[in-house]
Symmetry: C2
């Protein structure tokens, strides 16, 4: 805005970056500790949650979304299918393709896992004021923007 704020802003940028980097790693580490009891692996959960939230996908779509190879995703999908959380159906228009969908049980597992993983953080956030929660909500949005660059 004004010249008086432009120089501090440049200094703040470097400090803000360093602070945000350290805070992000520390919170990620703490959150990882709290979910150590989970039965499903991170990769399996990410796939199941994507299917529940964004609807059915093909194998290649899931592999690209999660940045893994098709054989690796195929193994993850096999595990989820063996557990009854995911089902394969043939694509009528292109018979090379297989449509992957979360089953009712799979959707329930996603909800339950999200609830459990959120529980600790919700407890921690309960001490904060509505204004502080709003700050965190806006920051989360900005962080997602940064991460998707």
């Amino acid at each position: 805005m004004t010249p008086a704020t432009s120089t501090p802003t440049r200094i703040d940028l470097s400090a803000a970056a360093s602070d945000l980097r350290m805070a992000t790693f520390r919170l990620a580490r703490r959150l990882r500790q709290e979910r150590a009891v989970d039965t499903m692996s991170d990769g399996q959960f990410a796939v199941l949650a994507a299917l529940k939230i964004n609807g059915p996908h093909t194998l290649t779509e899931l592999a690209e979304r999660e940045n893994v190879t098709a054989p690796s995703m195929n193994r993850t999908v096999n595990c989820l299918e063996d557990s009854g959380w995911l089902s394969r159906t043939a694509d009528a228009s292109d018979r090379r393709k297989v449509i992957l969908s979360a089953t009712d049980a799979g959707r329930a597992v996603v909800d339950e896992t999200v609830r459990r993983r959120n529980a600790w953080l919700e407890g921690a956030l309960a001490d904060f004021s509505p204004r502080q929660l709003a700050v965190l909500a806006e920051a989360a949005d900005l962080m997602r923007t940064v991460a998707d660059r």
Copy 2:
């Protein structure tokens, strides 16, 4: 504290927790991609950074800190030692113990990685307004508070 406000607050709390948790993991994952040495794994870097920042540790201390078993940490330490980034020295007072320290080269690798991650994040934050940077700065402070619970 009326029923009219308590219910919306509880809903916001759950959503804020979920958004913050996902944003934190995504940003941490993106930041971890910025490294000084491609051959070093995330686990190896975390150990080396801990030794550089918090000083020498024993094997058991490192294993507990990183939430892995002693044999697993021993393997990580062996890799870092083979690369010349970490050194073992005997503990004079208790000869069962081995003191693990980052070498000069190891400290330099940590510094370079931190520098790269900060530079990348600064570039990403450059698009934001002073108000948005202030939001991120306050959020970083709150996140640190949560992580230290």
